[in-house]
């Protein structure tokens, strides 16, 4: 019982000290997390609704939070409706930029309602030193992979510029030659030459 209390206190502690921002009811707010593969991402959130009577924000347990996570290939890997407060987790299977989008499911609230969302996103576990070192190592490998991809894209851009220039010069020369040949035939047909 005591340990369960500790769990609840710990997760509340994490969220109430987190960053918060405001969104309109139907607005989507997206965050980008660039992570290596096989990394677990944990997001803690809490939603509060603006109460015009007190001009503050209060908890409304019946608000739902829709969380949608897309992987670097724009494929949806998590799309779930959560409670007004809680946590969501996902593990990346491909390295790259994952998009985490949040929006509320409420359409029954009065128009123009403002929501306050407390959010904290942690990529990779931060609990013990060994896990942190492991995470750093993973990040370094991912960095090496990204630099290689970057170099490949650079080379392909350079190649593309070279080939397009050569191609365009060829097209220029060919159209010039075609023009001269066509007009010569035209003038000869018209008996002007």
């Amino acid at each position: 019982m005591m340990t369960r209390g500790l769990v609840i206190v710990a997760s509340l502690l994490a969220v109430t000290h987190a960053l918060y921002f405001h969104i309109a009811e139907t607005e989507r707010k997206c965050f980008i997390e660039e992570i290596p593969d096989e990394t677990m991402v944990i997001g803690n959130y809490k939603v509060q609704l603006h109460d015009p009577n007190t001009n503050g924000y209060a908890d409304y347990p019946s608000i739902g939070m829709h969380v949608e996570v897309k992987d670097p290939e724009e494929k949806v890997i998590l799309s779930k409706l959560y409670l007004s407060e809680g946590r969501f987790t996902f593990t990346s299977h491909t390295p790259g930029e994952h998009t985490i989008c949040l929006y509320s499911n409420s359409s029954s609230w009065f128009a123009g309602a403002q929501l306050r969302i407390h959010l904290d996103i942690q990529a990779g576990e931060h609990t013990q030193d060994y896990v942190q070192v492991d995470q750093i190592q993973k990040e370094q490998n991912y960095q090496r992979y990204r630099e290689e991809r970057f170099r490949q894209t650079s080379e392909s851009t350079n190649q593309r510029v070279l080939w397009w220039s050569i191609g365009q010069t060829l097209v220029l020369v060919c159209t010039g030659a075609w023009q001269m040949r066509h007009l010569k035939g035209f003038f000869e047909a018209k008996k002007l030459v």
Partner: protein
């Protein structure tokens, strides 16, 4: 269950010092992010931001507490601000992209909260150690290691690892920005090459057609060119 509770408790403590997010600010929009800060626990706030993608890679930045503006920058690509926390409250970090009509900006920002010792998070080894086995401290003393020096070493290691992570996120943001610039360059090169080729061929055809009509007696274009 006990292990999970200890894990989550340290998770709660580890969350307290550092936040980083990569956000998208649409064209013409003004976005703010708030952080509740307790002045008794934290003494310094540091905020670093960098524009990773979008147009000229610049954005307006503001750090405010209530109505006071603590820091402000206009049209910068990156910035770093460290402020003394004189009072508790909700500090807000705002990114203003209203000067741009078409391009959305992707901004990476990190917020650090330092206590009076200048450290990010306090690693409470004694509490961790005391949980599973009460004789932990006694065993360590038998080995000739005092709990204070162990604590100091662990704290130093944690600080260095935090520094490594900080540099890694900075490098990651730089790389993302460079990759975005290069992607935009590649798209631009491809687009303009195609346009140039199409214009080239089009102009060649128009030239031939106009010269032909110059010599055709019954064409409108020929009559127009001859006069």
């Amino acid at each position: 269950m006990r292990f999970i509770s200890v894990l989550l408790l340290t998770l709660g403590i580890a969350f307290a010092g550092e936040y980083d997010f990569t956000i998208e600010v649409p064209a013409g929009k003004f976005q703010c992010y708030f952080q509740t800060v307790d002045n008794t626990k934290y003494k310094t706030l540091e905020i670093d931001y960098q524009v990773v993608d979008g147009g000229d890679l610049n954005i307006n930045f503001m750090l405010m507490l209530g109505a006071n503006v603590l820091a402000q920058e206009a049209m910068k690509t990156d910035g770093s601000h460290k402020v003394e926390l004189k009072e508790s409250g909700d500090y807000q970090v705002c990114f203003d992209n209203s000067f741009s009509y078409q391009t959305r900006k992707v901004v990476f920002f990190e917020m650090f909260l330092f206590d009076e010792k200048g450290q990010l998070d306090e690693l409470d080894i004694a509490r961790l150690g005391a949980q599973p086995d009460g004789g932990f401290v006694k065993k360590m003393e038998e080995l000739g290691i005092s709990i204070e020096s162990f604590h100091a070493s662990a704290q130093r290691i944690k600080n260095e690892l935090n520094k490594v992570e900080y540099h890694q996120s900075l490098m990651r943001a730089h790389e993302a920005r460079d990759r975005a610039i290069m992607g935009a360059n590649l798209d631009r090169v491809t687009l303009w090459s195609i346009i140039h080729t199409v214009v080239l061929i089009g102009v060649a055809l128009i030239q031939v057609w106009m010269i032909r009509s110059l010599f055709e007696s019954n064409s409108k274009m020929g009559k127009m060119l001859r006069n």
